[in-house]
Every structure is written in C-alpha cells, then in structure tokens.
C-alpha cells in the first residue's frame, strides 16, 4: 500500500496524525495516549503483523528538540514486506505508555529494555523489571545525563586476595 493511502486511511480515525519520511523510513507521529489504538489499527486493518523494533532515544541535548524522550515502534508486514514506524514523544514526569504486549508478545523484552535503559514505564506489561542491568542499579544508563563511564558503580565490589581464596 502506498504511504499516502495509509495516511488517508488513518487520518479518518486519528485526525491529528503527523507524518514524515526520510530515505525509505516512513513515520507516523502520534500522541502517547493514542499509541495503542494506532498500533492496533495498523495490526488489524493494515496487516502490519510484526513488531520488529521498539526503541527509545533521549533528546535532552538534541539541537532544537522540544520533547525529552522519543519512543519508536517499527512495524513490518510479513506479507507485503512494507515497514512503517510509529513515533511518540514523552516528557517527564509522565513517562508512561500503554504496553504493546497484548498485541505482540514480542514486545515483552523490548519494552523491558526501554524501561531498563530510559525509565519509561509501560502500563499493562506483565513483568516490567530491569533486564540488562542488575536489579539494585538505580540509574538509567542510556539517558544523556548519565555519564559514559558511570558513577563508580563498576568499582563497587569486594576485593579477593590470594591469601583469602
């Protein structure tokens, strides 16, 4: 389906839908409360049956950025091979999105990773825990205000010497 047709079809349902294109990436920009509904429409009515990517970015130091976090969903139709990206913006303190887990079970770990790295909550996720970092870790490492070399957590372990072991 050409992108224009898709946009026209979606605009009937979601009036304030913004779109953009770059190279072969086609993006729909939606408001956070609408995300679930848009994803559901794309899955059920437009045959985008695979969620191949779910990620986020912190736009704290991005030139001319107005919002803090962007969350990107990448959808793929395995029948036609088309891709479309759904993007939404989030700002502190309301870092909550509806979980896509009821639509795709593959969203499970990807949402946990976004939660782990950025602290964005997914409402309705069955098991939202840290996935890559240790449970006791308190920061969100991929946020731009977290330094590359950390805050010394990596050196915070007991030392075992030869005589003790």
């Amino acid at each position: 389906m050409p992108f224009d047709t898709l946009i026209t079809a979606l605009k009937l349902k979601f009036a304030d839908l913004a779109t953009s294109e770059f190279r072969d990436n086609r993006r729909l920009v939606v408001k956070p409360p609408q995300v679930f509904e848009v994803l559901q429409t794309l899955k059920d009515e437009h045959r985008f049956d695979m969620l191949f990517e779910l990620t986020a970015a912190d736009y704290l130091k991005y030139p001319k950025a107005t919002d803090r976090f962007g969350v990107v969903y990448g959808l793929l139709s395995t029948t036609t091979g088309e891709r479309v990206f759904v993007k939404t913006w989030l700002n502190e303190p309301e870092l909550t999105l509806p979980s896509a887990f009821p639509l795709w079970r593959g969203a499970d770990w990807m949402e946990r990773e976004v939660y782990d790295m950025y602290g964005i909550n997914f409402d309705g996720h069955p098991d939202l825990r840290r996935i890559l970092m240790p449970e006791e870790f308190t920061s969100y490492p991929l946020r731009k205000d977290y330094p590359l070399r950390g805050r010394g957590e990596r050196h915070n372990f007991p030392v075992i010497t030869r005589a003790e072991s």
Binding site: F22, R23, N25, D49, M50, L51, F52, E53, T55, A57, D58, K61, Y62, P63, V72, G74, T78, G81, R83, F85, W104, R105, G106, D108, W109, M110, E113, M117, P126, R130, I131, L132, M133, P134, P141, L142, L148
Partner: protein, 407 residues
C-alpha cells in the same frame, strides 16, 4: 499446558512438588553467559524464566561517544562469531543516513566477506549445537574451515578475528590477488567439509532423536515474537532481506541463490536451514568472486566522506586538508539532522541499526536491533513441556550470542 496456565502456577501445597533449578550463568551449554531459572515437574520443564544482562557492556552508550569510523571496532565485538557482518550492517546504515552510493567493487567485496561470515557463523552454530548434544567431531570439522576463513580475514586486514575492515564509503584497503586466490580455494574445498558434517549429523540417530520435534516454533508464534532469519525461516516465514530488500550486490546476484525455508520449526529444521544456507552462501561467493568488478573500492574523494589515499595526503594540500577535516572531532562528516533505520540479513536474522543523527560525525543515538535478543525471548515458549535435557538442544539451535544479546 497453555501459556496462560503457566503464568499462574498453583500456590501453596499444590506447588510443593515443583523444583526450581538454576541454569547458568556459567554452564558449558550456555556457551557464554545466559542464565535460566527453570521450574521442573520431575524432569519436565514447565516454566523457564531467562535472566540476561551478564555481558551488558554499554555498546549503545559507546556509539554515542565514538564517530562513525571508530565505532566499527565496537560493533565488531557484538556478534563475535561473524564480526564482519556487524561492520557491514553498521556502515550500511551510516551510508543510508548520508546517502552514499558505494562503488560496485566495494559492494561485491562486502558481499563476499558477508557471506564468508555467514558460513563461519553457521559452522559454529551447527557445530556447537551438535557439541551440546555430545557430537564433538562435527564441531572440530567446522572449526577447521573457520580457521581458513580467519586466514582470509587476516589476508585482507591483518586481524584474524575482528577485521574492522569497512569504512564510511568504502573499505580500509582494496583486496589483493592473494585474497581472490584464497577465496577460490575455499570455494573449491569447503563442500567437502560440508559434506562431512552432513554425513556426521544428518542421519545420526542420536542427533535426530534429540532434535526432531523438540522446541517447535509455529509460524504464527514466530511472527508474533518478531523472529527473523534462519529461526523464522525454519518455521515457514519466507523472508530474507537479501531477496526482499536487496542491498549491496545481492540485487545483481538474485539468480545465484535461493531462500532456504522449512516448515517444521523444530531444532532439526533450524539445523537444516543453517546447513543448507551455507551451500547457498557458497554459490553467492562463487558468483561474486568470478564477477568481481574492477575500479576503486572507495567512493569519490570529492564527496568528502572518505579519506584520500595516503600518498595524496603527503603530496597535495587539498588531500591533506580533507584528511584533517575527517579526523578532527569538530569537523568530520555532516549527515542530515534526521533519524534512519536500516537493516541487513545477518546470519542470525535481521541486524538493524537505528541512528539518530544531530548533524555531526558522531551518532546521537546508535540503537542496535539485535536478533539474538529477540530470539532468546522465544526460549520460554519453546521449552515448555520438554525434558530438562532438551534445554541445551533448544539453546543450541537458537544460536544465542551473548554479546549481541546484552550489548
């Protein structure tokens, strides 16, 4: 037992007979660093909870700190059984961001190297799958050919394991006659090893009994769980980026290869798809090396994306200025202020990068779409109801690479 029933295990006295077994993170069959918490009823696994992150090293954070050429040394270490594929994927996306069209020779060389990487990946994946089930010999046969591929990498770049060979808009060096000779020898000699491995495993009673019908992934589940690559193709999802979204030289070589699919979706199907894909890769290499175009490997220097030749840097002021501009952190490339997602077919599946660019030579955000991460999420669904000894069979068939899993 359906999954919903497993989410709510019986509480109280009814639960008493269940065992909890910790598996990993240091275990011979986990290859690297995976941890599973298995709930057992006798020897039957009724629930598996993977625990990952034992190799989380901050790849994506480093991608925000190093420039497009420097970061290639880091992505190398991501899927470390086919390093050059990561480099090709990374620079494929960077070039997509900047709108660079590669030269034909570079496309062909990258294709050959990528397919060599696919063979070496599948050799280790199939060999290790057999090793986990007790067949050591096939693994040794596979490693013998991996050494030959290492040797080819060493010929082109000087490093046998992590070549760091691609650059924005081209390659580190052009290949030599020696490379072409070695690849031709490999093409000639590899089928023998492949046949040996097939003879050792394909009709091996123990191997068949332990893989057929184990860990079945249905087509619907594969799509629902975002699987790609050999794992999805073994379940009947006919999708291969080399055919569907041709990149590099695959557009020219469409007739040289076929997409390998199976419909069973069990461990044996995944093994078969890998073994057959090696044959197809070999056909691609054969076609590409015989039709290797002449000409430069780097794009035109005028585009200000590639380093000029070293002799030119010493001899002309323009080249020296350009070299300087690409090296200085505050000059470098000027990509559009945009975001782009691009992907290639890596041995494990769709390896994509999502780059957010702020117009400098350093990515503002360098997200990896790691196939291993997504495939490991299928593990709890695959192992349900199987025996504890099948855990290693399923793990081996998924070919999980920890560095790509955790990044």
């Amino acid at each position: 037992m359906p999954l919903e029933a497993l989410q709510t295990l019986p509480e109280g006295p009814e639960k008493d007979y269940l065992w909890t077994l910790n598996f990993g993170p240091q275990h011979p069959a986990t290859h690297t660093t995976l941890r599973l918490i298995l709930t057992l009823d006798g020897e039957t696994v009724i629930k598996a909870v993977p625990d990952i992150g034992f190799l989380h090293s901050g790849f994506e954070k480093l991608g925000e700190d190093l420039d497009f050429n420097q970061y290639v040394t880091i992505v190398d270490r991501m899927n470390y059984i086919s390093p050059i594929m990561n480099e090709i994927a990374w620079h494929h996306v960077v070039e997509k961001l900047m709108g660079i069209e590669l030269t034909p020779r570079c496309k062909y060389i990258r294709t050959i190297l990528g397919e060599l990487a696919r063979i070496s990946d599948h050799l280790l994946a199939a060999g290790a799958q057999a090793l986990d089930l007790g067949a050591f010999t096939a693994f040794l046969y596979g490693f013998q050919q991996r050494e030959v591929i290492y040797d080819i990498y060493e010929t082109i770049s000087g490093q046998r394991f992590h070549p760091s060979y691609t650059r924005v808009g081209g390659l580190l060096f052009d290949v030599t006659e020696d490379f072409i000779r070695k690849v031709r020898t490999f093409v000639k000699e590899f089928p023998k090893t492949h046949a040996d491995m097939c003879r050792l495993l394909n009709r091996n009673r123990i191997f068949l009994d332990r893989t057929q019908g184990i860990g079945v992934l249905s087509k619907e589940l594969a799509i629902d769980l975002s699987c790609t690559g050999p794992i999805a193709r073994a379940s009947g999802v006919v999708r291969d980026l080399r055919k569907d979204e041709p990149y590099l030289a695959y557009g020219d070589l469409q007739n040289a290869f076929q997409v390998i699919c199976a419909s069973e979706g069990d461990c044996y199907a995944r093994y078969t798809v890998r073994m057959e894909e090696m044959r197809e890769s070999l056909k691609i290499i054969d076609a590409a090396i015989e039709n290797l175009p002449a000409g430069p490997v780097n794009v035109d220097v005028e585009g200000k994306a590639v380093f000029p030749e070293q002799q030119a840097v010493y001899r002309s002021i323009e080249s020296m200025i350009q070299h300087f501009e690409l090296v200085m952190p505050n000059r470098q490339w000027t990509p559009p202020v945009e975001e782009v997602y691009g992907a290639i077919e890596s041995p494990n599946g769709e390896l994509g990068f999502y780059i957010v660019s702020d117009g400098t030579g350093v990515a503002y955000r360098a997200r990896t779409r790691p196939p291993s991460f997504i495939h490991f999420a299928t593990f709890p669904y695959l192992i349900e109801g199987h025996q504890i000894s099948d855990v290693v069979a399923v793990l081996g068939s998924l070919s999980i690479i920890a560095a790509e899993l955790d990044r």
